[in-house]
């Protein structure tokens, strides 16, 4: 996350404060870690084409769901009728989607057409703040009406804000990325975890 540098302090104060400021600039613990999911919805030659539904969630390596990060569905349908089609995101629906209350602030949103998108989250806020350090898998599932379903899973190690506070190795300031690609309905998916 871009952080603006502190403005120069008035001279008399500068000497005493400077070391603290400098420390905050070099220590990764100073701010929230950022999790970015870059994903591409490919252009599909289909008529009619309806924008796909999408869910992104975190699960353990055994497939136990931990947190849903994003749900895109047809929010234009009145009375939230679009949620009725979310079960076609079968893996997500069975794992955790069916239990979810929608719309969910900061998580659910409208469908998107072909293009590249970015989902950005921080590790000190829901839905990731409760995620304990450990090994996880990011799952991104896409389903399109009259089309196919696609699912990409990306394993990752999670330090989280708790690990950073305790100086754990995964919070050592290294940005990690993982990339995968779907077949027809989902292009490249890249997960970036920056301290």
């Amino acid at each position: 996350m871009p952080r603006s540098l502190p403005r120069p302090l008035p001279r008399p104060l500068c000497r005493g404060v400077l070391p603290v400021v400098a420390a905050s600039l070099v220590a990764p613990a100073a701010g929230a870690g950022e999790v970015t999911i870059d994903l591409t919805l490919p252009r599909v030659a289909a008529a009619p084409y309806y924008r796909p539904y999408l869910a992104a969630w975190v699960e353990t390596p055994d497939g136990v769901p931990q947190a849903t990060l994003a749900v895109w569905y047809d929010t234009r349908l009145r009375d939230d009728l679009g949620t009725g089609f979310l079960r076609h995101l079968r893996s997500w629906w069975r794992a955790t989607g069916e239990q979810m209350t929608l719309p969910a602030d900061g998580i659910s949103g409208p469908t998107r057409g072909p293009g590249s998108y970015q989902v950005r989250l921080t590790d000190d806020a829901a839905p990731l703040s409760a995620l304990a350090p450990g090994a996880y898998v990011l799952a991104v599932e896409v389903a399109r009406e009259d089309g196919d379903r696609d699912l990409v899973r990306l394993p990752f190690d999670w330090g989280g804000s708790a690990a950073r506070e305790t100086g754990a190795a995964t919070a050592s300031g290294i940005t990690t990325t993982a990339t995968g690609t779907g077949t027809q309905e989902l292009g490249a998916v890249t997960l970036t975890i920056a301290p």
């Binding site: 497939g63 349908l77 009728l81 089609f85 076609h88 009406e145 089309g147 990306l154 995968g180 690609t181």
Partner: protein
């Protein structure tokens, strides 16, 4: 997994086949035509090919051509367009459905019941779904999308004719059983297929 989102819409969208089912229900012995046994007017049987053919086979040759199907759809659409603006608003759409539902109930000698109310509610929901532009107005082209989907569902040999020769479609592959079939990057899904 071919039809993804449309099945729900179709489940709500079966008025076409209803007259046939109503007739079948009327032919049943009284003992089998109880409230819970009889086909739901406007709902049951809508996905069955025989019901589809009986409802749309205008010339009685046992087959429904795309032309036959479109002609009935168009006639029904135009008839429902009470204000003549070339599109159906929700009231027009529901009224058209209600007219046919009422006819079925009359044919069966039934009083309006909960199922009737649900059917009407579903018609409202259906309108919202098939109104693809979400502008509260169902255009003929939007209606045609529904028609094409319904027809294609029965025309499994894709020759623009629905008849006995259309093979029963394979059950939908939900994509979870074949590793890699869905682009699952590590094939780890679907171990608990229900």
């Amino acid at each position: 997994m071919r039809p993804i989102l449309i099945p729900l819409a179709l489940a709500l969208l079966t008025p076409a086949a209803a007259p046939v089912m109503a007739q079948q229900a009327a032919d049943q012995p009284a003992t089998a035509a109880g409230e819970n046994d009889r086909p739901a007017p406007g709902v049951a049987g809508g996905h069955r090919k025989a019901a589809f053919i009986a409802a749309y086979d205008t010339d009685g040759d046992g087959a429904v051509t795309l032309d036959e199907y479109d002609a009935i759809r168009k006639s029904r659409f135009d008839g429902a367009d009470a204000d003549g603006d070339g599109a159906l608003n929700e009231a027009e759409y529901v009224a058209e459905f209600q007219g046919r539902l009422d006819q079925q109930y009359a044919d069966q000698g039934l009083e309006k019941d909960e199922r009737y109310d649900r059917s009407i509610e579903q018609a409202h929901v259906r309108f919202a779904i098939v109104d693809r532009s979400r502008d509260g107005s169902l255009s003929w082209s939007e209606q045609q999308l529904v028609a094409a989907s319904t027809f294609a569902r029965h025309d499994t040999d894709e020759n623009a004719i629905v008849n006995d020769a259309d093979p029963i479609p394979d059950p939908e592959d939900d994509g979870d059983t074949g590793a890699g079939a869905t682009g699952d990057s590590n094939g780890a899904t679907g171990t608990n297929e229900g």
